[in-house]
Symmetry: C2
Subunit: 247 residues, 2 copies
Amino acid sequence: MSSSSAVPAAKPPMRDALVAAAFRLFLERGYEQTTVDDIVALAGVGRRSFFRYFPSKEDVVFPDHERCLADMTAFLAASGAEHEPVRRVCDAARMVLGMYAENPTFSVQRYRLTRQVPGLRAYELSVVWRYERALAAYLRGWFAGQPDGTLRADVIAAAVVAAHNNALRSWLRSDGAGDAGAAVDHALGCVQRAFGRPAEVAGRAGGSGPAPLWGAGRADDVVVLVSRRDAPVWQVVREWEAALGRG
Amino acid sequence: MSSSSAVPAAKPPMRDALVAAAFRLFLERGYEQTTVDDIVALAGVGRRSFFRYFPSKEDVVFPDHERCLADMTAFLAASGAEHEPVRRVCDAARMVLGMYAENPTFSVQRYRLTRQVPGLRAYELSVVWRYERALAAYLRGWFAGQPDGTLRADVIAAAVVAAHNNALRSWLRSDGAGDAGAAVDHALGCVQRAFGRPAEVAGRAGGSGPAPLWGAGRADDVVVLVSRRDAPVWQVVREWEAALGRG
DNA sequence: GCCACCCCTGACACTCAGTGCAGATGTATG
DNA sequence: CATACATCTGCACTGAGTGTCAGGGGTGGC
């Protein structure tokens, strides 16, 4: 089972040779100054073969994002009802980080390229967008039915992606020094606290309250009580006790 | 002062003619089936003139985003210290919506195009990304110095854009029926409540609380109380009264 | 009225990304 | 050895985008 079988993930060496040749040229003379002909000449293959493995010149810069996206989608699809959804999408984001952290030097080189080539930046945006849509689709399924469910799903997905990217980029900017995982954990932790499990809200004392607060979160043994400022104290106490289940 | 002066915004009619010709062809035979030569032939101008007014074929689909982005940036730059930052970026997002709402039919047509043409979707993403970066840059300046300031800025900017897009897209999907402004107001209101002014948190009764919650918000006459589950009622009441300023 | 000047426009030629097609090569199976 | 199949290569073609230059229609000075 060395290289045969029907496994579609069996990497042909040509693909890797093209990636290597491409990056070598991109780094020494820039992305836009390198033509596809240059790449295939260095790799010693025909021009047509390049487009067999990469649908466009940009794709060679992100050789394994397609697989990573598929992995993430599978991860979300395999989620059961026992998983807390916000935590789950944060874990999915951590998976993506793992792909970057696998080979830091490659990720840093690519980061520098995408920073200075507008076309690559646009391409990366479309990749990130697909990740974000996958997260949002998962959350939409979870929040389906509840008011503003799709809105909430979209916002949380965007926040998770933004937090992930914030930590990832600062790690990449530091040339891959430090612990990327810890940075992303911290960033995602903030988002999780902000959006995590729909508040164990104690209810709203004093009549009709404001629109529901997404952010009113619960962190283990902490209870959040939302109330109108002019509510009488006895009503607040009653709501408080009700929230604890002793009412 | 009909058409002379040094005003750079004096629109040449040729630009509008190109947009009109382009959309006419895009709608009747599709974006990818229309070449730039087709457009200039219909508009009766030379091919080179197209690229004088639009740097790429995609740009003709978003003829006024550049101006809108400049307007939004100016709006943020003109913000003083008296503006609450999250509200300010939400208002900036409302400005963008205004541009879409100006001519609904055009916006709906463009939406249908971008939905089904991957290249246009990617282009729109890069446009949206620039809006998001402008919002984030403004917030970063505001949160500069405080812990996780850039993270918070990035997350809020992403959330605002996601909420805006959620409402905008559902409006566009309904062919421009209904009140777009109200929908965006509602969506942005949710984000504002979630991230707005750092909670008038009543304090944390019963010892050290959880990590700070971004989301613990305040909405006018509403007070949020965070407390440990095992705090005695008398302590909760004391914190509550202290928060109201009567303690 | 005439000329110099300048900006806008159009036409041609060119590079390069991406695609379709036909043929060459290599390999496993009968 | 012959056949079927997959992979690779070369070639020709479309279309986007750019550099360059010549012509044309205004404007200001003489």
